[in-house]
Structures are given as structure tokens and as C-alpha cells.
């Protein structure tokens, strides 16, 4: 990378950062344009979230000029790459962003036109469409120098990243995490740790520098702190009325997913926790007249967050707990910054999607009690089979064993073509009636 390129990088990112700061400053002092009759105003932290996400992608636009770039899966042990100064891009998050920006149909069609079946994951189709067409709502995505895929969230990422590796002709590091039913066996932890150790020289070669163990420990410590804060924020949903909803969590989870290991992420969640606590102190509920409290299972329906929030809020229903957002905090206790590789191996073996369906059911049952829930919505996600498998049984058992009504809602997390608004509205309306609202 030449001096001129580095100068371009710093000029572009610094000017952009200044503009984003100004935008945030203005937004913080402006009354939100959209006011809801049934919901509390958006969190005051929201302009900061927007700034963080925009800044992340802004740096991405210029990253190839100055830094090495890694594309990673959302459940990858990213601390290793952060400690090596990689700019880290999460295609899944980019796809979710495309979902909220409602540009998926266009991008997925690009992928389908190139021969990718409409039956494969809509995140993958969104990103492959963006990769093939160069279209993205964030301006431009940097090309990867290395790909890093961890199979702890699904096997789909393995095939998806094979496609990326073939397209970009760059090294692909796969961290294979054996499926676990209760606790990971020692040999499984050792197996993952060995893979992490083998990944280091490859990542070092691409980065052009050696891994500094102190830096890895520091990054791991920041990941742990941010995860703990995130867990605390979610736990505040136990209050009545709940100060934030799961829809807020879906929006505010971007930093914990794609900015783990950064100091500003810890600051961000500390500030968010403070604001949530202020809401509790002032008795502010996310749903103005909270009557019923629900659980959400599976990924969000990114392109209908507002619609669902308003629909349920209008009926006094707040969704206050979610297995999905919980997944980014529940492993915090496993992270040991003093033993980053071994604890990394253990932590990244335990995401909810790498464990038996019984674990998910147990999590949901625990949430029903802890959050005093009146019902559950299980999003049967056409695109995410590993998350959706077992949901029929889980719904039945929640009804039978926890004595709460549970609804299976069929949709797709990113592809609006698999969403029938009328059907969803009918099912939700009936479900809300069942809740006795």
C-alpha cells in the first residue's frame, strides 16, 4: 500500500467521520420525525448507533487502500483478526442492512439471475447479488484479502464462503465446530483450539505482521465487556413495563455482532445501559400501555420491524425477550481474556445454533419464567433451517409445559417475497385475541 493510498484512506475516512459526527449531533437535537401513538420514542442512543454503523461501512469503502480486509461469519472468533488490524466485514450484517433498507429483492434477483437458487439462504443471495452487481446501500464494499468462516451458526456459511473464495480467489480459513448437545467435550475444544492455532500463521501472512498476544488478550477483554453489557441490557427487559423491546435489540445489536473487540463498542453499550436504566427509573415502557409480554424466537424479519412493532404495540403487546439477541450475550461468562485461544474455542463452540434443540427449548422456558411472558412467537424462517428445525415441537411443548400460547409465524428473515402481510396480520390478530388483550 503506497503513501498516496494511505493518504487517501485517512482523508476519506476522517472527512467522512466528521460528517457523520455532525449528522449525529444534529439528530440528537432533533425531535424524531416519526412519532408513534403506541410506542415510546426511539432510544436517544439511536443516532449514535447509526453513526457507528455508517462509520464502519465508511471505513470499509476505503479499507483496501490501507488495511487488510477479512470477510467473516457472524459467529467467527473475530478477536484474532482484530488483533492483527484487519478491517472486518460481516456479509450477514451487510445483508441484514440491505433487508432494513429494503433493497433485497433487487440484489437477490441478481444472484438468482446468475444461477443461485431462490431456495438458498436469503442473506447469501443478498450478498452474492451485491458481490456480482457491485450494488449496495453502503456505497462500496471492500474486497477481502482473506475469508474466515466458522460453522457454529450453520453449515450454509461453509458453502457460501466456498462461493466467495472461488469468486475472489483468496484464502479461506474454516473453523469447524463440532455440534454439541450439552457441554463441549474436551476433544472438541482441543479440536477448535488447534484450528485457531493453525489459522494464526495464515492470518499473519495475509496481514503481513505477527500476532501480538497482549493485543489479542486486550481485544478478547473488550469482547467480554461488551457481551456482558449487552446481556445486562437485555435483562432489563424483565422490568414491567419493559424499557426496550426486542425490536430495539434487533437494531442495537449491530455493534455487538460486527464491532466486538473494539473499545468504542464497550462505551456504546455502557451508554445504552445508562439510558435504559433512566427509562426504568422514569417508568417509561417501550409499549405505552403494556398489557402482554412475549418471546421472539429466530432471526428478525428485517424488512418489517416497524410494522410488527407498531402492530403489536397498538394492541398493548411488547416483545421483551428473544433467543436470537440473547445469543450475543449469553456466552460472556465463557470468555477468559487471559486464555484467549482456549476460551475462544470453548465460547465459539457454544452458540445456540451449535447446540441441540433441547437447549433452545430450555432457554425459552427459562425466559418464560424470568421475563414473566404471556406467550411466544416462533418465526419459522424459510431461510434459516437450523434455527427453524424443531420449532413445531418447541411450540407444542411451550404450550403444554409452560401453559402459554405460542404462534408459529412463517416468513423469511430477508426476502420480502416470502412474506404475506395479510396472512401474517390475520395470524397475529387471532393470536393477540387468544392472549386475551
Amino acid at each position: 500500500m503506497s503513501v498516496a493510498q494511505s493518504l487517501r484512506y485517512y482523508a476519506g475516512t476522517n472527512l467522512g467521520r466528521a460528517a457523520l459526527r455532525l449528522n449525529r449531533w444534529r439528530a440528537e437535537r432533533t425531535t424524531p420525525r416519526r412519532k408513534s401513538e403506541y410506542l415510546a420514542p426511539p432510544l436517544k442512543i439511536s443516532p449514535r448507533t447509526k453513526e457507528l454503523i455508517a462509520r464502519h461501512y465508511l471505513e470499509g469503502r476505503y479499507a483496501n487502500l490501507h488495511r487488510k480486509v477479512a470477510w467473516v461469519t457472524s459467529g467467527a472468533p473475530v478477536e484474532l483478526l482484530k488483533a492483527l488490524d484487519f478491517y472486518v466485514l460481516y456479509p450477514e450484517n451487510h445483508a441484514a442492512l440491505c433487508g432494513t433498507a429494503r433493497v433485497v429483492e433487487d440484489l437477490a434477483t441478481e444472484a438468482e439471475r446468475a444461477g443461485y437458487s431462490s431456495d438458498i439462504c436469503s442473506y447469501a443471495r443478498t450478498d452474492i447479488g451485491a458481490m456480482l452487481s457491485g450494488k449496495t446501500p453502503v456505497g462500496r464494499l471492500p474486497k477481502p484479502d482473506v475469508l474466515f468462516a466458522c460453522t457454529n451458526i450453520c453449515q450454509t456459511v461453509l458453502w457460501w464462503y466456498r462461493v466467495l473464495a472461488h469468486h475472489f480467489n483468496v484464502p479461506l480459513i474454516v473453523i469447524d465446530t463440532p455440534f454439541i448437545y450439552t457441554q463441549a467435550a474436551d476433544h472438541a475444544v482441543e479440536f477448535v483450539k488447534r484450528q485457531l492455532e493453525e489459522a494464526i500463521p495464515i492470518a499473519e501472512r495475509v496481514a503481513g505482521k505477527s500476532l501480538d498476544e497482549r493485543r489479542l488478550k486486550a481485544t478478547t477483554r473488550l469482547s467480554k465487556l461488551a457481551s456482558e453489557l449487552w446481556l445486562e441490557i437485555m435483562a432489563r427487559g424483565k422490568h414491567r413495563p419493559a424499557p426496550i423491546s426486542v425490536f430495539d435489540q434487533f437494531i442495537q445489536m449491530a455493534p455487538i455482532v460486527e464491532m466486538r473487540g473494539d473499545a468504542f463498542t464497550v462505551d456504546f453499550y455502557a451508554a445504552m445501559l445508562k439510558e435504559v436504566d433512566e427509562r426504568i427509573a422514569r417508568g417509561i415502557g417501550v409499549v405505552k400501555e403494556e398489557k402482554k409480554r412475549l418471546l421472539w424466537d429466530n432471526l428478525p424479519i428485517w424488512y418489517r420491524l416497524r410494522y410488527l412493532g407498531e402492530f403489536l404495540g397498538a394492541r398493548g403487546v411488547a416483545i421483551v425477550a428473544s433467543t436470537y439477541t440473547n445469543a450475543w450475550g449469553e456466552l460472556a461468562s465463557l470468555i477468559d481474556p487471559d486464555r484467549p485461544l482456549e476460551s475462544g474455542a470453548r465460547t465459539y463452540l457454544h452458540p445456540i445454533l451449535n447446540r441441540g434443540a433441547g437447549y433452545k427449548l430450555a432457554t425459552m422456558k427459562r425466559m418464560v419464567v424470568d421475563y414473566q411472558l404471556d406467550g411466544a412467537i416462533l418465526h419459522s424462517d424459510r431461510s434459516c433451517k437450523p434455527y427453524s428445525i424443531g420449532q413445531v415441537d418447541q411450540r407444542d411443548r411451550l404450550q403444554r409445559e409452560e401453559d402459554i400460547p405460542a404462534l408459529l409465524l412463517e416468513a423469511d428473515h430477508n426476502d420480502p417475497r416470502a412474506f404475506s402481510e395479510q396472512q401474517v396480520a390475520n395470524r397475529l390478530e387471532t393470536f393477540v385475541e387468544m392472549l386475551g388483550v
Partner: protein, 244 residues
Amino acid sequence: ADEFKSLYLRLVELTDRAPSHGDLMECIRTDEAADARLVDLYRCRADLPIAQIDFYRIVRSREYLPAETFSEIAGATLARPERSRRMLAQNGRAQGTPLQKVPILLSGIVPEPMTIFDALDQMGAAVVADDFAGCGRRLYPASTRDDPFQRMAERILAAPPDSTRGSAIEARLEYLARLAQTSGARGVVFYDVKFCEPELFYLPALRKGLQDAGIPSLAVEVDLNDPLSKQVVTRLEAFLEMIT
């Protein structure tokens, strides 16, 4: 190997039976013998006096029959008399007679619905090789390891490139192109099951790679529980006309 060992220990716990090293090795060798029979079937497929659909019925029985039973059936098939082989060849239902039939290669997860073989027979096409995850990709080479768990693991890892193991696209492409070349196939038909992500992700790059190598291909999507549609049959006919 550790995963196999962990599974073994769990099964010991569940069944209260603990097969010895010798017991395990004996079972593994029986399985390896069955796999060797499977390889023989593939090697002799052009001379076998059976219809294509029957060939694949036998191949697929390796998935569920005990190894000993499969070996017996495969052995009996391989030992069928030459006369019936010729007779069947004359009425066009045998695996052989590549001169009269259009040689093609099939790829996918499993050959379902299996009526595709009857359809191909009627169209005058012969499947001379396959890259089905449930068939041709299960030709596991024997291992020489003495540790039973390592032996089982090594066999699976040494099998042909497979999407379900996440093999690289380049490895699969090279394997497919070589298989097409050595078998004399004039084209590749991707017979894919709906929603089968492992296969569907690889499809565009494999087809492009085959096209660059001068090997025409066709992709059809079917459902395991649906009958073979006329639309698929028509597309197959058009493809065969193109490569004839």
C-alpha cells in the same frame, strides 16, 4: 476420529455393550469389503446385464442394507451369466451398448425420483458415471490404519470431493471434468433436489467451469416426493438432442 470415539463411548453407555478393538476392526473390514464390491459394480457397470434403474437400486441399497447382505447382492449381480447380459443389451435396457446410447453423467445428492432412469432409457441415454453424494461420492477407499476410529475417519475424508463436506469448488470441478472425460460422458445433468443448499450453492460455478472446459451441462430441480414432471423430461430430451 475423536468424534467417532465420542460417539462410540456414547453408544456403549446407551447399549451397555462395549465392542473390543478386534470386534470394531472386523466390522470395519466387512464394511470395507462391501465398499470394494460397490467399486466393482461401478467399474463393471457397462457390462452388467441390468437396467440402469436396477443398477442404482443396488447401489443405493448400500445406504441401508447390512454390509454382508449388500456384498452378497453385489456379488451375485457381478456374477450374472454373459448370455443374459447380451440379451438385455439387445433390447436396449442394459447398462452397456454405449454405441447406441448417448453417454451422460449425473450429479446431485440422490437420484430421486428414480424414474429418471426409465425416462433416460426411453430417450436413448446411458448414465456412464455419476457424482451423486449418495452413490458415486460414496466410493470410500480402504484405509490401512490400525486404530478403528482413525480408519473410519480417514476413509470418509479420502472420498471424492463432496459439497456436504464443504470441498472446494475447484476440487469438485476438477473431479467432475475428469469423471466426464474418463467415462466418455458428453454432458452433465445436475439432478438437484429442491432446497438442497449444499448442491445449490456450487451449481453456478460448476456449470460455468464445465462450460469453459467444453462440457455442456443441464440443471434440473426436482422434489423428492414428486413424480418426475413432463417439463423435466422435455428439458432432458432437448439437452440430449443438443449433445448428440
